[in-house]
């Protein structure tokens, strides 16, 4: 009789700290996509914008100058990091992503790959 033993790998728990989900505006035009994300309180050096394969991920940490002896009486923002990821479709050129951060707004520009740009094909009358 065959005994089948199942070996189970211990599930690796990737416990992520709860993060804020920044609201975004995404606009697509003929040459690419522009994304605006609200990241108030995140300075330039605490922002991490990564493209891995077809995933764009935005992560940032808040850095507010809080006095040590402050007691919060009303806190609508309770976490100290932002995190949001997007899957980029194939026609976007992930190599040429450009971004700028100004007054807490991140503007990301993802152009469409050359081959995906709209092209008008001339029809010859034969």
């Amino acid at each position: 009789m065959n005994t089948v033993t199942q070996t189970r790998e211990p599930a690796t728990q990737v416990r992520q700290e709860p993060a804020l989900w920044p609201p975004v505006d995404v606009i697509e035009d003929a040459t690419g996509i522009t994304l605006y994300a609200d990241l108030p309180g995140a300075p330039r050096d605490k922002l991490s914008l990564r493209v891995e394969g077809d995933t764009l991920s935005i992560e940032a940490e808040l850095a507010l100058a809080l006095p040590d002896n402050m007691e919060a009486s009303h806190a609508e923002v309770q976490y100290s990091r932002y995190r949001r990821t997007f899957t980029l479709s194939k026609e976007l050129d992930a190599e040429k992503v450009g971004a700028e951060l100004s007054h807490g707004v991140l503007r990301v520009r993802i152009p469409k790959a050359e081959h995906a740009q709209p092209r008008r094909i001339a029809v010859a009358v034969g």
């Binding site: 989900w21 995404v26 606009i27 605006y36 309180g41 402050m70 923002v77 007054h103």
Partner: protein, 145 residues
């Protein structure tokens, strides 16, 4: 439509859903509409010497933010322009989650603040208003003779 600015957990989403349902069935809504919710989000805290208010309001021109203090009430108001393309541009908007338009938030301050000692700074999209408490309101130890 009210939307929690940084939706994070199930309860915040359920709360929003309940509010949406309530609005859908409201026969006679308030004349000023449903309220624009909380833009900008506020964190308010106090220290023994002052009161600190943080307003999470990215994308504004610092000189155009209106911060007013009147009889113990702090008002933060302004307008954020939408980043959407003009109607004639051949562009598609896939997501429009960010707030745009006029906003106004009001914070009631405790009686012991000094209205002449207010500073406001705008860094990385966060407006930090700091109000000192009156010196006479600080706890003082009284010597026993």
């Amino acid at each position: 439509m009210y939307r929690s600015l940084f939706p994070r957990d199930l309860f915040a989403e359920l709360d929003r859903l309940q509010r949406d349902m309530q609005q859908a069935f409201d026969q006679s809504p308030a004349i000023r509409g449903y309220g624009r919710g909380g833009f900008p989000a506020l964190n308010v805290g106090g220290t023994p010497t002052g009161v600190e208010i943080y307003a999470f309001a990215p994308g504004l021109d610092p000189s155009a933010i209106e911060v007013n203090l009147d009889r113990g009430v702090l008002t933060i108001a302004g307008e954020r322009a939408p980043s959407l393309p003009k109607a004639d541009d051949k562009a598609t908007v896939h997501a429009n989650e960010r707030f745009s338009g006029r906003f106004r938030r009001v914070v009631s301050l405790p009686d012991d603040v000094d209205p002449t000692a207010v500073t406001a700074k705008y860094n990385d999209g966060v407006l930090h208003v700091s109000i000192r408490r009156q010196a006479s309101a600080q706890p003082r130890r009284i010597e026993v003779q």
